[in-house]
Amino acid sequence: MNRLSIELPGLQLKNPIMPASGCFGFGKEYGNLYDLSQLGAIMIKATTLETRFGNPTPRVAETAAGMLNAIGLQNPGLQGVMDNELPWLEQFDVPIIANVAGTETADYVEVAQKISSAPNVKALELNISCPNVKCGGITFGTDPQQAHDLTAAVKKVSQVPVYVKLSPNVTNIKEIANAVETAGADGITMINTLVGMRLDQKTGRPIIANVTGGLSGPAVKPVAIRMVYEVSQVVNIPIIGMGGVANAEDVIDFLSAGASAVAVGTANFVDPFVCPNIIKELPAKLDALQIDHISELIGRSHP
């Protein structure tokens, strides 16, 4: 028996560990360091209809136990991803979750339709929560009606299950979660980054050229855990949890909070081997908790 396997809509995961979108490119760089087939899945960098250069630099800044980023969805565009990135990933025995971004419904729909036809794309992650682009992105993720409608439109064309990535920058995340579930989402991924800022000591000006950036890393974990806990109790679709995961203990926390799998973002920069390391450590952690299968952890925190 594989004690770590998890089955989710569209995804047969060897284990519930996957790199988070934007923190792993399209896999090539980490693929030079270890065998990507070890991973539960890979969430690739956000893909938009056209090539995007993204924001000016500096694009990252460090904060207490966290970092800000404002990459601005730089990516080679749908065609580039379909032609160069996804085929390269086919050599690995690992399901790909394609992160889909856009500025209006029409481009989300077009990207979703085409990218979901790639043979190794097993699910989409609808990015309605990127705080670093001027139009689209987060605006869809902060209004339940818009989140609903976009999800429904993408569901109509996608050939694979659709997970919707929620923004934590909202008063009531349960409302957004309910809206996307009603619209037919197959799962939820959460959380994207919290909007934050860092200033330069000398000049007082923002360090990130885009002024604000998205906060990620261990600092945000308590907020992420709380939101996964809340949302998992009001929806019937599975959650892939993320926000500050850096070790096996964090994975256990996210599953306990109600997630069915976990994505690792920022921690890849701190330790490029963090994903395989966590996968290796998990069985011993299950032993210590006297648990046979990792799925037994899911929702342990619930009342």
């Binding site: 934007g22 923190c23 630099t57 990252v60 970092m67 890849n268 920069f269 701190v270 330790d271």
Partner: protein, 258 residues
Amino acid sequence: MIIQDRMTVVGQRQIAKDIFEMKLTGKLVGEIDSPGQFVHIRVSDSFEPLLRRPISIASINSDCNEMTIIYRAEGRGTSLLSLKRAGDEVDVLGPLGNGFPVDETATGDTAILIGGGIGVPPLYELSKQLTAKGVKCVHVLGFQTADASFYEDAFSQLGETYIATVDGTQGTAGFVTDVMKNFDEEFSTYYSCGPMPMLNAVQSAYEGKKGFLSFEQRMGCGIGACFACVCQTTDKTDKPYIKVCSDGPVFPAGVVSI
């Protein structure tokens, strides 16, 4: 090949105001293939500070698997690094990026190496390798002030060395370009590393010459995955953009839009 190595500190000493020289040993040294490559250092086992710090490789000694880095202890991360003592272990990812091309200068030719502040260190290994190959190296090194200058003797042993300090406390008063302009030796290549305004000035001064510049950007991953360190390119290349960490940090003059 890039590896993650728990390297051992062999020694650490302060060599100028806020400037530290640290020697590290580990198998990573065997993977270094060109001067100007850098390493990404985790300065603490906790999440504070979180990110790795990119630091250039200043010199290598393959015989004993040792490398030297030289850095300014200014912010939180580098200050912590400066507290490490011989025997401590440090988590180092590297070697990263593509360094200075030694083969772009023919034996017998002259190369000018222009460094500013903490951009000086990688030029030292470069000069060692060029000199070993029979290239005549001339060094122009700029610092804020005499207290912050370092490695003048080391560079002098390899070739002519000119110092410029902004406040005039050592060498020429002013910038490296002030040294460069009184200076009309023939050379075939220039190599430079330092702050952006310096790179800009050097590139303009030597417009049309063959040159290689090493860039800095704030980094996330350091290996090309996160798109943090991207620079726009000029129309002299057909790359739409470059990543400093994995395409660079060294680029031929004229490629990066500065």
